[in-house]
Amino acid sequence: MQHGKYRFIVGFLALPLGLYALFVVWPFIQSIYYSFTDWTGLSPEFKMVGFDNYSRMLDDDIFWKSLQHSLLFALLLPVVTIGLALFFAFMINVGGRKRRNGPVVTGVRGSGFYKIVYFFPQVLSIAIVALLFAFAYNPDSGAINSLVRGIGLDDVQPLWLGDPDLALWAVMGVLVWSTVGFFVVLFSAGMASIPAEMYEAALLDGANRVTTFFRVTLPLLWDTVQSGWVYMGILALGAESFAVVQIMTTGPGGPDYSTTVMVLYVYQKAFRDGQAAYATTIGVALLVVTLAFAAVVMRLGRRERLEY
């Protein structure tokens, strides 16, 4: 049987791979090709310019700033979001005290309610979330500063999106808020499939909640965490970060380039400045960053898989 195995696999994969090649791989190749031209995106004429776009990119301060911010997004957002989501999911499913006559392993009181609350932002489109927070961050009459005033801190009225030191964090906060619910649900599903005997055994051995989490829950959930990590990193490098930065920030991308990210820069170069070729060059850089990110996560995350 062994010799026919690959033919068998190829037979099933031909159609999907063909579509994939046409709609994903081919555009990639085209984009890379355009990055060696001076195409404006507004006329059919262009010529090859070699590595001009690449050398220009390396000298471009704004590109480096956007790269820096994108990397920060890709590193920090998954850590914070997944950390929070794991904590919430653990408390909802496992972290509760044992109640009389109840099951041994249970979530905190009201966990069903929390599950819905956490998931709620997920049903809103990211554009709406960004707009909502743009209003909340309004330093003059927004919800956050009004609240701060309300508790008597009249002198503490940050400019939020208007302050280069705060703007990037304000934007990240919105992304965490809007994505954490999805991972809570994802991890809850993962935790539900962990057999209760394992927890019972851990409890009998006298493990507390922290030990249970690190010794039982996390190792058994590792695969899910890893895919979640890649998924979140790509959100942070791609569409979601574009939407919030474009909608919420000064400029957009400011103040003083403090929030610009690579996808935003690609968009601005292609569709505002009529420099599609240069934009594809930045797109290629973004591709490299994304591939590197996925490779690192896959490599670091390689562990013995436990089957149960």
């Binding site: 085209q30 895919s227 000064t250 103040p255 003083d256 505002r272």
Partner: protein
């Protein structure tokens, strides 16, 4: 309960799980990164010569439009709506009953038309406006547009003895030029920029609109005592500040200073007039005359705060009357003034104002019926069509006049008065249409925005902006322009 890992499958080839996992990961990565860019993959356009043949040139048809050729008109469906253009299309259809006119209005100018430019089959007339405006400099640089000189030299729709060129407001023809004599764009709307305020609020302070900066500071001080800020602006889009700052620089130092800035001349920003004006604006911040929190407000939020009476003045354009119509109170008595100068030693008199065209109309070079597109514009530039536009959307047009006999709103009336007062002293800085990135995110956000938020001193802001301008001047991926 055994434990195993991917490595153990080595002898059997690729494990099923690994295969699925890896391809899923690859797919996830690839989709968001680049595919959206190549959506606009270009295909070499071919110049198949299927252009409409010229028609017969008559007094009624000075552009020699082929009366059987189709004409396609794509309008930006924005703040001005599409009714005014539909009305003009009806006149075209009446004049050329045998021609079939295809009219469409969209907000997505770029997404709709970019592929058609790339294929070499654009429509005959486009209102290239809105957030999805296609870069004019690139369109001109790549020879994608038709020279509109024949239209400008044609007799006007109302008076055969007057050329279209002579019926337009100051600056309109010049704005359509990029380098040299050819006119590529016809701006149909006419925008008045300046300092907008409520006459009622000024009256309540017992003040006139200030003509010198000392008076300006005095008015702001008085307002502050009443718990009102002097100024606010679109803090998130600080490139609204130039609407009053640039004409002030022009008033203080003369037109040459603004021209030097537009021409990206070395040290243009280091002119004493620029420094004086920057310092004057910085003083507003220093003395606490700028509404608290302004750097975090967007244009709508700042206009709302201003309409609520939290601030007296706001730099803006004449669209503000329409845009903020639902928050401006009925008795607000909206008015616009030319910017305040420094003192009596300024080069130009008080009243010097920035006014320029908006709603850029273009006729593509590869249009099948370019003459038809131009004829449609000629119709729109008639007195009747212009009046129709002004009456419907509360904005002036490029047609000089056309305001008699229609009821003007307070802001519009004040705009007309300001233009009358300015007379010849209308300045037209070109930064925002020549160098969008430089004007918006570099000068606007990173220079002026930082200065007005108090994070840069005027001297630092000038140094930074001069650096940005020099960078742009050196950047050969950007097309450069000069005032003629």
């Amino acid at each position: 309960m055994g434990s195993t890992s991917a490595e153990h499958h080595g002898t059997e080839g690729v494990g099923r799980r690994d295969l699925i996992k890896r391809s899923a990961a690859l797919g996830l990565i690839s989709v968001p990164t680049m595919s959206f860019l190549s959506a606009c993959a270009s295909s070499g356009g071919d110049d198949s010569g299927d252009k409409a043949k010229a028609g017969k040139k008559t007094a009624k048809n000075p552009l020699a439009v082929n009366d059987t050729a189709g004409m396609e008109f794509v309008l930006f469906d924005g703040g001005f709506g599409k009714e005014y253009a539909e009305d003009a299309v009806k006149i075209y259809e009446k004049n050329f009953p045998k021609a079939s006119v295809k009219f469409s209005a969209t907000q997505k100018i770029q997404s709709t038309l970019q592929p058609r430019f790339n294929q070499g089959t654009p429509p005959d007339l486009i209102d290239n406006s809105g957030a999805e405006q296609m870069d004019m400099g690139v369109l001109v640089g790549k020879n994608q547009l038709t020279d509109l000189t024949p239209l400008l030299d044609a007799p006007s729709y109302d008076d055969p003895n007057k050329k279209v060129r002579d019926t337009l407001r100051p600056g309109i023809v010049e704005m359509g030029q990029f380098d040299g004599e050819k006119v590529w764009i016809l701006y149909y709307a006419y925008t008045v920029y300046g300092v907008w305020y409520s006459q009622k609020a000024l009256d309540s302070l017992d003040e006139q609109y200030p003509e010198t900066w000392d008076q300006m500071l005095a008015v702001c001080a008085k307002a502050k005592k009443k718990g009102m800020a002097g100024w606010t602006y679109a803090g998130k889009y600080p490139y609204y500040l130039p609407f009053s700052l640039y004409p002030m620089i022009g008033k203080v130092g003369g037109r040459e200073v603004l021209d030097a800035i537009d021409n990206l001349e070395p040290n243009a920003w280091k002119h004493p007039a620029v420094k004086a004006c920057f310092e004057a604006y910085y003083e507003l911040y220093k003395k606490g005359y700028v509404l608290k929190g302004t750097p975090g407000l967007d244009h709508i939020q700042s206009q709302t705060a201003w309409a609520e009476g939290k601030a007296l003045f706001i730099p803006n354009g004449s669209w503000v009357e329409n845009e903020s119509a639902n928050v401006i109170p009925k008795d607000f008595d909206l008015a616009v003034s030319a910017p305040t100068g420094l003192d009596s030693s300024d080069k130009l008199p008080f009243g010097t104002i920035w006014a320029s065209g908006g709603e850029p109309f273009i006729v593509p070079a590869k249009a099948k019926n370019a003459a038809g597109g131009m004829e449609q514009l000629r119709i729109m530039l008639s007195e009747a069509s212009s009046k129709n536009f002004t009456g419907k959307v509360k904005s002036l047009t490029a047609y000089n006049g056309g305001t008699d006999g229609i009821a003007l709103t307070p802001g519009l009336k004040s705009g007309v008065a300001a233009l009358d007062k300015a007379g010849e002293n209308v300045v037209n800085p070109r930064m925002q249409d020549w160098y969008v990135q430089l004007q918006k995110e570099k000068i606007g956000v990173s220079g002026l925005g930082e200065m007005m938020a108090g994070r840069l001193t005027p001297a630092e802001a000038i140094k930074k902006i001069q650096g940005f301008a020099d960078e742009t001047a050196k950047d050969d991926s950007i097309k450069h322009y000069k005032h003629q």
